[in-house]
Amino acid sequence: MTAVMSPGLRRFTKPATVVAILVVALLLPFMLSDYWLSTAAFVLIAAIGALGLEVLTGRTGQISLGHAFFLATGAYVAGWIGGNEHMSAAVWLPAAGIVAGVLGAVVGPFALRLRGLYLAIVTIGLVYIGQYLAATWTGFSEGAGGRSIPDVTFGSLNFTNGFSLGSLSINRNGCYYYLALIILVLAMLYVRNVTRSTLGRSMVAVRDRELAAAVLGVNVARTKVRAFVISSALAGISGALYGAFLSFVVPQEWGLVLSIQYVVMIVVGGMTSLWGPVLGSIFVIGLPALLQDVSSSIPFLSNGSNNGVIAPSDAANIVFGVVLVAFLILEPRGVVGIGHRIAGLARRRAAAQAAQAAQAPPPDTTTPTNPTSHEEVQATS
């Protein structure tokens, strides 16, 4: 399964463009209001988790609705190590990833026995079991009333108070933003390396034709388990940051709705693309924030003063459901897929013009544009 990439989209993975995006990302906190900065921090934190799910579901084809379980694991590990044991984030952040990854290795073997629907239902069960443990194992999670998760501290740097560098001051939201950005970049580099390795190709093989892959010598079991480990480790780190940023979590957070949100992120963003999780995360986290922000100006959105018809959070949910359905039916490759199509269209037009000018027949380099099953999705980067 070789990777075919539309030349148009290659533009966005070239060093110059990536650097430009990074620069914008670095400077963004100084341009945003506090509301949007905290939203942006949530976006980046969620993108880390979404990246994990992309590896598991998008690349390896394992349906998992259990992402909330691994996010919860990360948060509670952070709470325990940071809150009860008072250790710095340098300890609990990786620990959250490791513990979640270990649990992923435990759940992974289930995927060996179960297919599709059954795996989905077992992962749903995992979410319920996680919520039960969060409510019952009070020594660890402080029970149904929820627990506080301490702010990130690295030695003397405490995120609660922010951080100053000369005339530059970074408040709490900014600190979380930058930390999440650094981790996200590292995670994306890691996943990019994985996709270019043998493991990455095995994952795609398992996704597309598991039986054929096994016949060809791919170690299906090891591939699936490793996919689960990577996915849950990233989810653990994301969950830990999320809990610390929220500063307080309750068991109700970690329900099926959260898992579904992450699936929406990768479907909308693009299930086999490195940038898909980020784009999907911007959509899923950003839309409710946007609707809340404009709810005073849009009459049918209800907020405190006006008597609008629908709450911003409900409106966002409905949009998610509709968009999810639309993307699944019309463009399973998500926003990235739309990008491909536009790029492909532009390129073909340019090629056609060039051909007309040269009066030579246009080369047939069209990329597939029909929405087919995800088996024909292209791997990017």
């Binding site: 026995r113 059954y118 319920y128 959070s313 409106a315 409905i318 509709v322 999810l324 359905v325 699944l328």
Partner: protein, 298 residues
């Protein structure tokens, strides 16, 4: 002893609702191999709209019930005809997420349309109960069991003795062969979703009966029914229905006795007990107790 009998009865009544949900699931699954993760939301929709028709539109209960069932059935039918139909042949992931998308939309449409607060289901039974031999049985629960059995028998007859029932069974066995002999698959699928919707409404209205109420969390009950259906067998309606009754009884008994005798397991155990059992069973039999491994072609 009183406690046991009361819990048992409550369990059978709850199991009746689970059996209705299970029927809804299997009808859709058998005909089109789709698991409808939105079953709970359809149930909630049915309960809310029936309640609204009685309490706000002031319709008599039975009229509201019928209209509500038809409305819910239409929602299910519309989803199949306008959305799911285009996903024919897509991978399982797509189908699963499509029904979850429906569930997400419904879960927000319901509070927007009907408000978020709990309300009575508007039925005519109210709080009346049958008192016999020192026990009390709510009439609404008695009627739940009766209605569920009636619906199940009715569906059984439909499936066995009518043309559509036969068509649905053939579509379940081999869709391509069914197409080849001229069975209108699309209509079969649409009918199965219509039935699933109607059956969900019935379950929802009864579930919201006294002393419970209709509230947005009523949809969660369907996810508790999953393990029953898996264990009973997605392929077998009778298995799923038996599973439904069993899970209902087990849930009530667990909820009643476990906190007192095994407090260490906490108070939420009854929620996950069916899932734990299901996971253990699936480890041994990955296609359910009665399922069979589908042949895979390269």
């Amino acid at each position: 002893m009183t406690t046991f009998v009361q819990l048992l009865f409550a369990g059978v009544a709850l199991g009746a609702v689970y059996a209705l949900i299970a029927l809804g699931f299997t009808v859709v699954y058998r005909s089109s191999r789709v698991i409808n993760f939105a079953q709970g939301e359809l149930l909630a929709f049915g309960a809310f709209i029936t309640s609204w028709l009685v309490l706000t539109a002031n319709l008599p209960f039975w009229a509201a019930f019928v209209i509500g069932a038809v409305a819910t059935a239409l929602v299910g039918w519309a989803f199949q005809v306008f959305v799911l139909r285009f996903a024919l042949g897509r991978p399982e992931f797509t189908i699963v997420m499509l029904t979850l998308g429906l569930a997400t939309v419904l879960s927000s449409v319901l509070p927007t349309l009907f408000g978020n607060f709990p309300r009575s289901n508007g039925d005519v039974f109210g709080s009346s109960a049958l008192h016999a031999g020192g026990f009390s049985f709510f009439w609404v629960q008695i009627w739940t069991i009766v209605a569920a059995i009636a619906v199940l028998l009715g569906y059984g007859a439909f499936s066995r003795f009518t043309k559509y029932g036969l068509a649905m069974r053939s579509a379940a066995i081999d869709p391509e062969a069914a197409l080849a002999v001229g069975i209108p698959l699309r209509r079969v699928y649409a009918t199965s979703w219509f039935i699933a919707g109607a059956v969900s409404c019935i379950g929802g209205v009864f579930l919201g009966g006294y002393p419970s109420s209709v509230s947005p969390t009523i949809s969660d009950v369907a996810l508790l029914a999953f393990p029953a259906i898996i264990l009973g067998g997605l392929d077998s309606p009778s298995g799923a229905i038996v599973g439904g009754f069993v899970i209902g009884v087990v849930q009530e008994l667990t909820q009643g006795y476990q906190p007192r005798y095994i407090p260490a397991l906490g108070n939420d155990f009854y929620v996950i007990a069916p899932y734990v059992v299901m996971i253990l069973v699936l480890l041994v039999k990955p296609y359910g107790l009665f399922g069979s491994k589908p042949a895979e072609r390269l």
